[in-house]
């Protein structure tokens, strides 16, 4: 099958029902997307499909052929050789959010799609948007602050 991931085309030989998660991680080596539960509950595997946050562990890869898939590896941009972090990534460092960080790719992908839709979120909206991404290390207080901060960084960069 043909997949478009982070702006690059990949040809993959995979079982018809193979979840996108394992195609990304095992077939293509894009291991930034993480496995947590395989049921679409914890959100560790969240990627973007045409900009929409999507649980890759329950999404068969062949259903997203021809769609624009973005993973954590594609969230930052390059300015020449310099890696420019996405506002969410920058805010997660600024606020020192991650601990073990296994859930963080999913947290950040969810947050990135959210602030793209809602550039000036309220605290309650942030909690609602991040409510289905689990973090066992307990970084929730910092996630709340960092998503708000990410929205600000995005606004600052846009202006």
């Amino acid at each position: 099958m043909e997949l478009m991931i982070n702006g690059q085309a990949y040809t993959v030989d995979a079982d018809a029902d193979e979840p996108l998660l394992w195609v990304l991680r095992d077939a293509l080596g894009l291991t930034g997307t993480k496995y947590g539960c395989g049921l679409g509950i914890c959100g560790s595997c969240t990627v973007h499909v045409d900009g929409v946050p999507t649980r890759s562990c329950i999404t068969p890869a062949n259903t997203v052929e021809g769609r624009a898939i973005t993973t954590i590896e594609g969230l930052a941009t390059l300015d020449g050789d310099e890696e420019i972090l996405h506002p969410v990534q920058q805010a997660f460092i600024d606020e020192q959010v991650p601990q073990c960080a296994w859930c963080m790719s999913g947290q950040m992908m969810t947050a990135a799609a959210f602030i793209a839709d809602n550039p000036t979120p309220t605290d309650a909206e942030i909690i609602a948007a991040m409510g289905n991404n689990w973090c066992r290390c307990g970084c929730y207080a910092r996630i709340r602050i960092a998503v708000a901060r990410a929205a600000e960084i995005a606004q600052e960069r846009a202006s």
Binding site: D26, L85, R142
Partner: protein, 734 residues
């Protein structure tokens, strides 16, 4: 193992001594353009082996090299470009230990923080895997002094050499920002000193003087984590991410009941199923290697397996076995007499089994290079994985390197050697590198879990409300006594009480008569390390019960804890944290309508904790709105890292307080995945304020676990204050 897993000795003054080892400093791997300093930390055998390795490196002339040396026991390297590399012999599993230990080293070594990179130390760099064992909130207390001593010695070598190069007296030179400067304005960077070095470095005799605390530039600062850039970009490599060309994916057959063993096993149709590379059948073990994970898992269904034995135990029987009796047991604390006059109060508390639910399930990649086995593994305990792999595969431990990766959450679960050994067996059986990553279902059902516990307490109070007697009876299944992770046999007979299940069970309040009994119970369900060990259940019980005692005596729960605080220095530290948390939470004020506060305090692993939470109850549901926590580990190395550990402990503790229980029926855990085992989410997360406290001039306690047990008690106490109902079983229900 046993020397590693015994609880740290605690002296009566409340200062935790941590694990003391004799330390031997060595300078190794000195080559052109690089200065590396190493040290041997460990017991006599290790020292002998370490010295042998170091001597051989010198005698065979392999040490000098312009490349960064791969000599044994290298802790710190600085090169001619003035770049410093610090090898950290503890595993980064989210607790920020790579940053914290690097901070300690860089401060004493007077490094420019911008020049520092951090690397995971492992057995390939000569480190003792048991030293790398990352557990029990002990990393900082165990390594604070040795890291400073080694760093100070390296700094003094650089100063001495700078004096020679500049032709001035060493006493005139000071070190700062990776530079040695003189009073006359001359200066040399560390890199320049190393580049210009002629001949052999001289290893100074004796210990180098350590910096005064007042001169610290990094210790005590909220230095940003060194691992986050890689973590936010997805570049960080965990055990589940380990890859190598030509590897296969392994899946392992699991028993239908705990304790069941294979009566017979045949490959059946598994061998011909899609993608299958090998079926590996060994004594009591069957696994499949395939070219994708899902194919390996699917092929398990083709195996012909007959299981026998095992348990059919269910929840009612587990709770009946793990139930604190009123007599017998092993005495683990006695102060004063057996009985006291006064009003008698008693209560029972119960803590269920719970899983770690670390977000990254168990994972390892094993491969052979000739006879040499290399296991890249998400592990807290590379030594245990090496030891078990050696025993199971029948090869010499010296032939095995275990490389700890970043760990995607551990909480005790990644002490387990299970997955590393499985990957090694399958790699040998299939003849190719094999990665095994457990499914969430496997991790939830087939790992070990927090032991169930039952606590019975009774007290007497006099007519002023003061306690005159406090007795604590603990019943728990195994932690250390689980033969799979360490104990059993001789240890069990000697001790009588599982010291790790008993953690947090001692009574520290200044009550004239106190007694703690431990009742060893065993269930045929694997239980072992879980964040905080016994202190979660025991602190829940003790701190709930003293709240009951305070109310029975008509004394405010904060006032009770202050009035009956422990004697001596520990009491001074209790006062510090209690007063700090009382002020932060405005304890003396009345909460808003429909809200109430609860308090808990504890002393665990050298750290003193006081926690206040504010709750409400709607439709029988407990909501925790705020938490204020004062923690005193003696000296806080990184206040922001400390705050993160406390915040995380409160969230994980709250998840267990409100939601989590794993039950077993018909010999198997009933929950398989997160659909049947929910965790706390951001929706239920309270606002948290952390007050780090320095009560001394060095770290005496850890921060990863001590807060855990205070959480259920503070919440239960707040719920009682609000509703008058005392919830004594976790998860709390009204």
């Amino acid at each position: 193992m046993s020397k590693q897993t015994q609880p740290p000795k605690t002296s009566s003054d409340g200062k935790q001594k941590g694990i003391t080892r004799r330390r031997f400093l060595q300078t190794v791997g000195i080559g052109a353009g690089v200065l590396a300093v190493g040290a041997v930390i460990g017991g006599p055998t290790l020292v002998r082996e370490g010295r042998l390795a170091i001597n051989q490196a010198f005698l065979t002339g392999t040490a000098p090299s312009s490349a960064p040396p791969k000599s044994p026991f290298v802790w710190f390297e600085i090169d001619a470009q003035n770049q410093a590399r610090l090898f950290i012999p503890k595993v980064e599993m989210g607790q920020g230990i790579h940053t914290t230990l690097a901070q300690i080293a860089a401060d004493e070594l007077e490094l420019d923080w911008q020049t520092v990179t951090v690397a995971q130390a492992d057995t390939t760099t000569g480190f003792d895997p048991d030293l790398i064992f990352t557990f029990g909130s002990t990393s900082v207390t165990a390594l604070y002094a040795p890291i400073r001593e080694i760093a100070a010695k390296m700094r003094e070598m650089l100063r001495t050499e700078a004096a020679a190069q500049l032709g001035v007296d060493v006493a005139q030179l000071t070190a700062a920002n990776s530079t040695i400067s003189g009073q006359g304005g001359q200066s040399l960077t560390y890199g320049a000193i190393i580049a210009a070095k002629q001949g052999e470095w001289v290893i100074p005799e004796g210990a180098a003087a350590l910096k005064n605390n007042a001169d610290f530039t990094l210790i005590g600062q909220p230095i940003k984590r060194v691992d986050l850039r890689d973590k936010v970009t997805g570049r960080a490599r965990y055990g589940y991410d380990a890859r190598i060309e030509g590897m296969g994916y392994g899946a392992v057959a699991r028993p239908p009941r705990y304790g069941a063993t294979l009566a017979s096993a045949a490959a059946g149709t598994a061998e011909t199923m899609p993608g299958v590379i090998a079926v590996v059948i060994e004594d009591g073990f069957v696994g499949v290697v395939a070219n994708t994970r899902r194919r390996a898992q699917a092929a398990l269904a083709g195996l012909e397996l007959t299981w026998e034995g095992g348990t059919n135990i269910g929840q009612a029987e587990i709770e009946s076995i793990v139930s604190a009796p009123r007599d017998g047991g092993t005495l683990i604390q006695r102060v004063g007499g057996e009985e006291a006059d006064g009003l008698r109060i008693e209560a029972n508390y119960r803590t269920p089994m719970a899983v770690h639910a670390q977000m990254e399930p168990q994972a390892a990649l094993a491969r052979f290079e000739g006879d040499h086995l290399i296991i890249d593994c998400s592990t807290q305990a590379p030594g245990l994985t090496r030891e078990r792999a050696a025993a199971v595969l029948g090869i010499d431990a010296a032939q095995i390197d275990v490389i700890p990766t970043y760990v995607g959450g551990a909480f005790g679960r990644k002490t387990g050697a299970d997955v590393g050994v499985e990957a090694a067996r399958l790699a040998r059986g299939a003849g190719i590198p094999v990665h095994v990553g457990w499914t969430r279902e496997e991790d939830t059902q087939h790992g070990y879990r927090r032991p169930p516990a039952s606590n019975y307490l009774w007290a007497t109070i006099d007519d002023t409300g003061a306690p005159t007697m406090l007795v604590h009876e603990i019943a728990s299944s195994d932690v250390l006594f689980n033969p799979e992770v360490g104990g059993g046999g001789f240890l069990e007979t000697m001790l009588g009480a599982d010291p790790l299940a008993a953690y947090g069970g001692l009574l520290h309040y200044a009550i004239p008569n106190r007694r703690v009994m431990y009742h060893h119970t065993r269930i045929p369900v694997p239980t072992a390390y879980w964040r905080g060990l016994g202190s979660f259940a025991n602190t829940f019980a003790i701190e709930s019960f003293v709240d009951e005692v305070a109310h029975a005596g008509g004394i405010d729960p904060l006032e009770w804890r202050l009035r009956f605080r422990p004697e001596g220095d520990l009491g001074r530290r209790y006062e510090l944290v209690l007063n700090a948390v009382a002020e932060a939470s405005a304890w003396a004020t009345t909460p808003a309508d429909g809200r109430a506060r609860g308090i808990a305090a504890c002393y665990d692993r050298g750290t003193v904790v006081a926690l206040v939470v504010e709750v409400s109850v709607t439709d029988g549901q407990i909501n925790v709105h705020n938490a204020w926590c004062a923690v005193d580990p003696g000296l806080v190395v990184n206040p922001d890292g400390a705050a993160a550990q406390v915040q995380g402990s409160i969230i994980m503790g709250l998840s267990s307080t409100l939601l989590e229980a794993q039950t077993v029926e018909n010999g198997m855990a009933t929950s398989q995945n997160f659909n049947a085992y929910p965790l706390l989410t951001i929706r239920q997360a309270p606002q948290i304020e952390v007050i780090p406290i320095n009560s001394g001039d060095e770290p005496v306690g850890g921060l990863g676990e001590p807060v855990m047990g205070a959480v259920p008690a503070a919440v239960a106490n707040a719920v009682f204050a609000l509703t008058g109902t005392r919830a004594r079983t976790l998860p709390l229900k009204l």
